[in-house]
Amino acid sequence: MDELQLIRSFRTDVPESNADARHVARRMLLSRIETVPWARRWRRLAIAVVTLALAAVMAASALALYDFVAGEPAPPDVTKLLVEEGAAERIAPLFAGKRNVVAEEAHGVAALETPAGRVFLWTAPTIDGPICYFVEFERLSERAGAPRGEGHCGPHLSAGAPMIFVLHRATIDGRELAIVVGWAHESVESVVLRSPEGVERELEVSEGFFIADVPADGVPKDSRDGKPYTLVAKAGGGAELERIGVTEFAGSLRMHSAKLAGPRRTVIETTDSRGRPMELSLIPIEGGKTCVRLETRNGMSTSCGAPVRTDEGIQVHPTLMGSMVFVSGSVGPEVAKLELHHQDGYVLELPIVERFVLHDIPRARFEDGERPILLVARNRDGAEVARKEVGQTAFGPNSAIWSGGDVGP
């Protein structure tokens, strides 16, 4: 018997009807019907009219920027796209393989109109797992015939750190976009985006998520680099719960509620398979910990919390970013050589710098039969000390890597 059946069988002996309760309730209702004075009715009607008029004005201004599935009606085409089964199925594979994520229930949360087309925010429910979403750039998807964008999974929030955001950048038709995607703890009633000039707009919070676009050149690297936009989380009564500047550093470090404790240090500075810059750097944060930041042409990701370097063996994983797949991570101190084995027998030695690894997989190696499948670590004597299979999720048939060009020119 499944959980729903069990719950249905719980307290079933409650009577279907209850004459006494019904009689009392009916009398109470009739007394309201008979005694509501017309003056009171008209006053309430007047208040309702004024409230509705105000709501209409507010909704009109909000809808100029945002179309949301939740709450007030969204334009039919947006609603249709975000709820239609086909669209959800199209997105579901992008969530597959994430811990405790119910990928088949992927669904749209919000849509944002930008000068470079619409941006959709998708999520999938989780069972006590991380919060996962995929931000999709419609125009890129249309051209590629498959979802194009970036996905992220992040932690559930607490009342102590009630808001997180991630900055997503893309260049579409020569226009640079900077999209702020965030989520908020349930204690947050509203989120306001304040411009450096002090102009505020309230962001719709849907399933805890919010999305907004900011000028691409209006996001400084950190607060010393310029005055940023600010996200303000507010409680029901309007009290400010948290305020975060929209900077590149904050966007990545807030994912881990971390505070910077020193300058960033670049460990690997290399190029991807198309010769574009790519780097791995370390950022010290409070508590004696360090975050690892990966920066590629297609975006940036930062991970904190877990030990920066593994104590032994191989902690190198494939990562999908836009249409790129790269392997990154660290190896144990005994590892002198790391080999990437492919399906067709090709073996590539990956450079190791301070025990870190960063390598972009060329598109020619995305095809079945030629993909990387195995990492083998060897010591100074050439003896194998560890091996690890390379996950194939990123290469799946619906993966964003199959969509052609990158997110950006």
Binding site: D2, E3, L4, L6, I7, R8, S9, F10, R11, D13, V14, P15, E16, S17, N18, D20, A21, R22, V24, A25, R26, M28, L29, L30, R32, I33, V36, R44, L45, A48, V69, A70, G71, V83, V102, E105, H107, G108, V109, T123, P125, T126, I127, D128, E186, S206, E207
Partner: protein
């Protein structure tokens, strides 16, 4: 031909007594749902207040929705919010003693009753609301979303979480039982 809820509510704007049809149609279901959650005394009060408030706010009813159940359950939940602690306390008492304090008789406590009570008490009120609106009120996901004023996606995710937690709590409880035996 019987009028829809929407028609009855629309008619009640000029003829208030037309609203009684909505009461007659749905009172028993709403009352039973509330009684299963918080027991007879509180359910009597909340169910009566649900229809009184529905009548007061009937102008806000969306006439495009023929079935008023989601709207009524939404009002009932707004009232129920103040009794979440009572609900949780009763569930925990049931789990602890094996006797449901909400029941008039003690004879038919199901074998899994206390376990389920413990599991339900372990859910957040939001998860419990979604789960019980689906399981007891038999509302569709879209109707639950309408009742609670949340997106359908949130209904799905809360239901998933609730089911997962129920499963986990029941398994844990059975595991404990096995180990104890």
């Amino acid at each position: 031909m019987e009028t829809t809820d929407a028609e009855a509510i629309a008619a009640s704007l000029s003829e208030p007594r037309a609203f009684v049809a909505v009461f007659e149609r749905h009172f028993d279901a709403i009352h039973r749902y509330l009684r299963r959650r918080v027991g007879k005394p509180i359910a009597d009060e909340l169910a009566a207040e649900t229809f009184a408030q529905a009548f007061e706010h009937r102008r806000r009813y969306d006439p495009r929705r023929p079935d008023a159940r989601p709207w009524l359950y939404g009002i009932a939940h707004n009232l129920l919010r103040h009794h979440y602690r009572d609900e949780e306390r009763a569930l925990r008492a049931y789990a602890r003693t094996g006797t449901d304090p909400l029941q008039d008789s003690v004879e038919e406590a199901a074998r899994e009753g206390p376990e389920l009570a413990e599991a339900l008490a372990g859910l957040s009120p939001r998860e419990r609301d979604v789960l019980l609106l689906v399981a007891w009120a038999e509302l569709e996901y879209a109707e639950v979303a309408e009742a609670l004023g949340i997106p359908v996606g949130t209904v799905r995710s809360r239901l998933n979480r609730a089911r997962g937690r129920i499963r986990e709590l029941l398994e844990r409880s059975r595991q404990y039982e096995r180990e104890t035996i």
